[in-house]
C-alpha cells in the first residue's frame, strides 16, 4: 500500500547501500531517515572551489600525518643552509633572520596555547595575561643574572632545572590568586579587573627603581625601569648550555609540542569538558556537578603557568627583560589577535594565528614580497569574484591588453608622458611596468590614483550585479590599483606594511568571523 509508506522513505538514496558506504562511520549505525539527514548535512558541509578541495584533501589525511608533516617542516625549516633562491630574489638573504623570526613565532605560539586555555576553553576574558608572561621574565632575571646582589653574592644564577619549574609554580600561584580575587566577576567586569592587573605590573616594572626600604639607607632599584634587566643567563639543561638561537629554536619547538599535546589531552578530558561547559552555561555546569569556581581558578593557574614557561625561556633567549613593549598592552592585543584570527578554542588554529602574526609582518618588511602578496591577493580576490576560471582569464587578458593599448596610445600621442623612472627592480616590477604609463611626476599623480583606486574598488563591489558597468569598471580598477601600488605603496614600505597587514586581517575576519580554523559558535537557537 503506497499510501502507508513513510514519506521520507521515498528518497531512493535512503536505502541505497552504495551511498551509505561513502560514509563508513555513519553507515555502521544505519538509521533510516536520520541517516539521510546526516548525508544532506555532510554534503552541505563539503566545500567547493579549488581552496575547498585543497582543505578537504588536507583534512582527509590522518591526523598523525598532518601533525607529523607540520612538525617535520618546522624541524627542517632552519636547516635550509643558505637561503632558498626565491627568498634571495625577494631581498631576504639572511638565514639567521628567518630562524629568529621562527623562534619568536614559537614563543608566541606557546603564549597563544596558554591564552586559549583561559579564553578559548574556560571563556574567561583575561586581559592580564601578558603580566604573567612578564612576571616570569622578571623572576628569571632575578634568579639567573647578576642583578640580585645580596651578601656579597654576584647574582643568584640558579640552574635552569631549578629556576624554570620554580618560576612556573610561583606564577601559577599568582594566576590562581588573581582568579580568586576576581572569581565573582565575569565577562566585561573580569576583563577590566585583569586589565588593571596587567597595567599595574607594567607600571611597577617601569617605576620601581627607587624604592625605600626601612632597613636600607639607600633606595633599592627593583627593575631598572624602562631599560630593563639585561645579561641574563642562558638556559642550561643537564650540563648543556644553550647559546645559539638555533638551539633555542629546537628547545622551544619541543616545549610547544609538549604543551600542545598536554593541552589537547586536557581539552578532551573531564576537566576540558567542564571548562567548555562553564563557558557555554556556567549555571548549568555548576548544577550538573562541575565546581565552576574551582575549575575557573584551575584555568587561570594553568594559563599563567604556560605564560610563565614562555616568559622564562623567552627572556633567557632574548637575554634581557624590557617592560615596554614586550610585556605591555601592545603584546596583549597582538596575542588576542592571534588567538581570534586563528580560531578561539582551536589549538591548531591559535598556533596558525601566532605563525601568521609573527611571520607576515616580517615578510612584509621586504617590499618585493609585499608586492607578491599584493598582486597575489589581488588575483585571488579577482578569481573569487569572477569564478569560473574562464571569466577570470578573459577579464585578466582584457585588462592586460587594455593596459598595453593605453601604453601604446600614450607613446603615440604624447611621447613625453611615459618617461618616469621608478625605483625597484624585482622581476615582478619589471613585468608590471611593461603596461603602466609612468609620468615623471608619478608621486603626485599616484596620490590621486590611489584614492581613486580605493573608491573604484568599492564602486565595483556595489555594481557587481550590472555587467555593463561591472566589467569595464573592473578593468579600470585593476589598472589603477597596479598603478597605485607601483607609484605610491611600494615606495612607502613602512606605511604599506601596516596597511596591508590591517587590510588582510580585516578581510580574513570578514571572510571567517570564527577564525581560520575555528568552529562557528551558536549562541541561542
Amino acid at each position: 500500500m503506497p499510501a502507508d509508506r513513510d514519506p521520507q522513505n521515498r528518497d531512493p538514496q535512503n536505502r541505497d547501500p552504495q551511498t551509505s558506504a561513502e560514509h563508513p562511520g555513519k553507515a555502521a549505525s544505519a538509521i533510516g531517515t536520520d541517516e539521510w539527514v546526516a548525508q544532506v548535512e555532510d554534503r552541505k558541509r563539503r566545500r567547493s572551489g579549488p581552496w575547498g578541495r585543497l582543505a578537504d584533501s588536507w583534512e582527509a589525511l590522518p591526523a598523525t600525518w598532518r601533525y607529523g608533516l607540520v612538525v617535520a617542516l618546522l624541524l627542517l625549516a632552519p636547516l635550509a643552509t643558505g637561503t632558498p633562491a626565491f627568498l634571495e630574489l625577494m631581498g631576504i638573504s639572511n638565514n639567521a633572520f628567518i630562524i629568529r623570526t621562527l623562534t619568536r613565532f614559537l614563543v608566541f605560539a606557546m603564549l597563544a596555547v596558554g591564552l586559549n586555555v583561559v579564553v578559548g576553553y574556560a571563556g574567561l576574558l583575561d586581559l592580564g595575561y601578558t603580566a604573567f608572561y612578564g612576571i616570569a621574565g622578571y623572576l628569571y632575571a632575578y634568579l639567573s643574572s647578576s642583578f640580585v646582589k645580596i651578601g656579597g653574592l654576584d647574582g643568584l644564577h640558579l640552574p635552569s632545572l631549578i629556576s624554570i619549574p620554580l618560576i612556573i609554580m610561583v606564577t601559577a600561584l599568582i594566576g590562581w590568586l588573581l582568579g580568586l580575587l576576581s572569581l565573582r566577576l565575569s565577562g566585561d567586569y573580569l576583563a577590566i579587573v585583569t586589565l588593571g592587573f596587567g597595567q599595574v605590573f607594567v607600571q611597577l616594572a617601569l617605576t620601581a627603581t627607587r624604592v625605600k626600604l626601612p632597613w636600607r639607607t639607600r633606595p633599592v632599584d627593583f627593575t631598572r625601569g624602562p631599560n630593563g634587566i639585561n645579561r641574563l643567563d642562558d638556559i642550561s639543561l643537564f650540563g648543556f648550555t644553550l647559546h645559539s638561537t638555533l638551539q633555542y629554536y629546537y628547545l622551544f619547538l619541543l616545549f610547544l609540542i609538549l604543551l600542545f599535546v598536554a593541552v589537547h589531552r586536557l581539552n578532551h578530558s573531564r576537566i576540558g569538558r567542564a571548562w567548555r561547559a562553564i563557558r557555554e552555561d556556567e549555571l548549568a555546569a555548576e548544577v550538573m556537578g562541575a565546581p565552576a569556581g574551582r575549575l575557573k581558578l584551575l584555568a587561570f593557574a594553568i594559563g599563567a603557568a604556560i605564560a610563565a614557561l614562555a616568559g622564562t625561556v623567552g627572556a633567557a633567549w632574548q637575554g634581557n627583560v624590557v617592560p615596554v613593549p614586550r610585556y605591555s598592552v601592545l603584546t596583549l592585543i597582538n596575542l588576542y589577535a592571534m588567538v581570534v584570527l586563528g580560531g578561539l578554542g582551536s589549538l591548531p588554529g591559535v598556533v596558525l594565528g601566532a605563525f601568521i602574526f609573527t611571520v607576515l609582518p616580517e615578510v612584509l618588511r621586504s617590499i618585493a614580497l609585499a608586492g607578491v602578496l599584493f598582486y597575489g591577493g589581488g588575483l585571488l580576490g579577482l578569481y573569487l569574484l569572477l569564478r569560473p576560471w574562464r571569466r577570470f582569464a578573459l577579464m585578466l587578458a582584457g585588462a592586460v591588453i587594455g593596459g598595453l593599448g593605453i601604453k601604446g596610445l600614450a607613446h603615440l600621442l604624447w611621447p613625453g608622458l611615459d618617461t618616469g623612472i621608478l625605483p625597484g627592480s624585482s622581476p615582478l616590477n619589471q613585468l608590471v611596468r611593461n603596461w603602466l604609463v609612468i609620468p615623471v611626476e608619478f608621486k603626485v599623480i599616484g596620490n590621486i590614483i590611489t584614492i581613486l583606486a580605493i573608491l573604484l574598488t568599492l564602486l565595483v563591489i556595489l555594481v557587481r550585479r550590472r555587467p555593463s558597468l561591472f566589467y569595464p569598471l573592473l578593468g579600470v580598477t585593476i589598472y589603477l590599483a597596479s598603478f597605485a601600488w607601483e607609484t605610491r605603496l611600494a615606495l612607502e614600505p613602512a606605511a604599506t606594511r601596516i596597511l596591508i597587514l590591517g587590510v588582510s586581517l580585516v578581510v580574513l575576519m570578514i571572510a571567517r568571523p570564527q577564525g581560520l580554523l575555528g568552529k562557528a559558535e551558536v549562541r541561542v537557537v
Partner: protein, 265 residues
C-alpha cells in the same frame, strides 16, 4: 525514611514571597508532580532544592542529610540532578560530550593522570563514555549513532529535552527533578515522554519530581500530586483527589462568579 524532605521552606525576593512555608516529602521510587498556575513557585522550588537560591528559613534533608548551604555541585554529587525549563544544554559541544560532562562529580582523574593518559584515566574515560552512551540509548534511536558527534545546537527542541535528561542521569543521581520535560512537544512526543518518565522510574531506578503543565503527563504517571499557588501548597494527594479539590479548581479557574476577572488579566 523519605529520600527528600522539605520542611517549612520560605523564600522571598524583596517583598514578594515566592515560597511560603512549603513542606513535602518524596519517597524512594516515587513520581511526585508539582503543578500550579504560572508564577506559583514551582521552578523556584526546584531552584531552592538544587541550591541555586538559599531559602530564608526551613530545612531540606536529602537521604537524611541537611543540604542547606551546600553549593549546587555538591548537592548534585549527593545524588540530585535536574533539567531546566528553559533548555540549558551546551549548544556548541557534541551530544556525547554534553552527556559525558554530567559525570564530572563522580570522576576523579587529576591533571597528571589526564596529561600522561594513565591507565586509570583511560579506564575512567571508557567508563563515562559507556555510561553516556547507555543513557543516550535510553531514548531509543533518536540520539544514537552519528548524532553522538553532532553539536547539540543541531538537535530539535524535543531532542534537547531528552539530552538534558540524559545529562542529568549521567550525574549518578538518585533523584531527578524534571522541569516541564514535555514543554514544546507535540502530542505524540508528549505521550512518549510520559512513557519514558515511567521507564526512568521502573527500569532506571530513579525517583522523580516532575513539574508539568500538561495534565495528560501528570495524570498518567504521578503517584502523588502537589499543587502550589502563590508559593503555598494548597493540595496534595492523588491526581484524582487534587483535580477535584475546590481550592485547586479555584486557583486554576478563579472563584465562581468572578470568572470574568480571569480574562482581564
Amino acid at each position: 525514611m523519605a529520600l527528600l524532605e522539605v520542611q517549612g521552606v520560605t523564600l522571598s525576593f524583596g517583598g514578594l514571597t515566592a515560597i511560603r512555608d512549603l513542606s513535602f516529602a518524596v519517597d524512594e521510587h516515587e513520581i511526585v508532580s508539582i503543578i500550579g498556575p504560572n508564577g506559583a513557585g514551582k521552578s523556584t522550588t526546584l531552584n531552592v532544592l538544587t541550591g541555586i537560591y538559599p531559602p530564608d528559613s526551613g530545612d531540606i534533608l536529602f537521604r537524611g542529610n541537611p543540604i542547606l548551604g551546600l553549593k549546587p555541585h555538591q548537592i548534585t554529587a549527593l545524588g540530585m540532578a535536574r533539567t531546566f525549563q528553559t533548555l540549558r544544554v551546551y549548544l556548541n559541544m557534541s551530544v556525547l560530550e554534553n552527556v559525558m560532562s554530567g559525570a564530572y562529580c563522580h570522576t576523579r582523574a587529576g591533571l597528571p593522570a589526564i596529561i600522561f593518559r594513565s591507565p586509570r584515566w583511560r579506564a575512567e574515560e571508557a567508563r563515562i563514555r559507556a555510561l553516556a552512551e547507555e543513557n543516550l540509548a535510553f531514548f531509543g534511536s533518536r540520539l544514537q549513532g552519528y548524532r553522538h558527534q553532532q553539536p547539540a545546537y543541531s538537535l530539535s527542541y524535543a531532542n534537547r529535552r531528552r539530552l538534558e535528561i540524559a545529562r542529568a542521569m549521567t550525574t549518578g543521581a538518585k533523584l531527578l527533578l524534571l522541569d516541564e520535560p514535555a514543554a514544546g512537544m507535540n502530542p505524540n512526543e508528549t505521550a512518549e515522554m510520559t512513557e519514558l518518565i515511567g521507564k526512568l522510574r521502573d527500569a532506571g531506578g530513579f525517583t522523580i519530581v516532575l513539574i508539568e503543565h500538561d495534565m495528560s503527563v501528570v495524570g498518567g504517571i504521578s503517584d502523588r500530586v502537589l499543587v502550589l499557588d502563590y508559593g503555598e501548597k494548597i493540595a496534595e494527594g492523588s491526581f484524582e483527589e487534587v483535580t477535584t479539590d475546590h481550592r485547586v479548581i479555584e486557583a486554576y479557574l478563579g472563584r465562581e462568579g468572578s470568572g470574568g476577572k480571569q480574562d482581564e488579566q
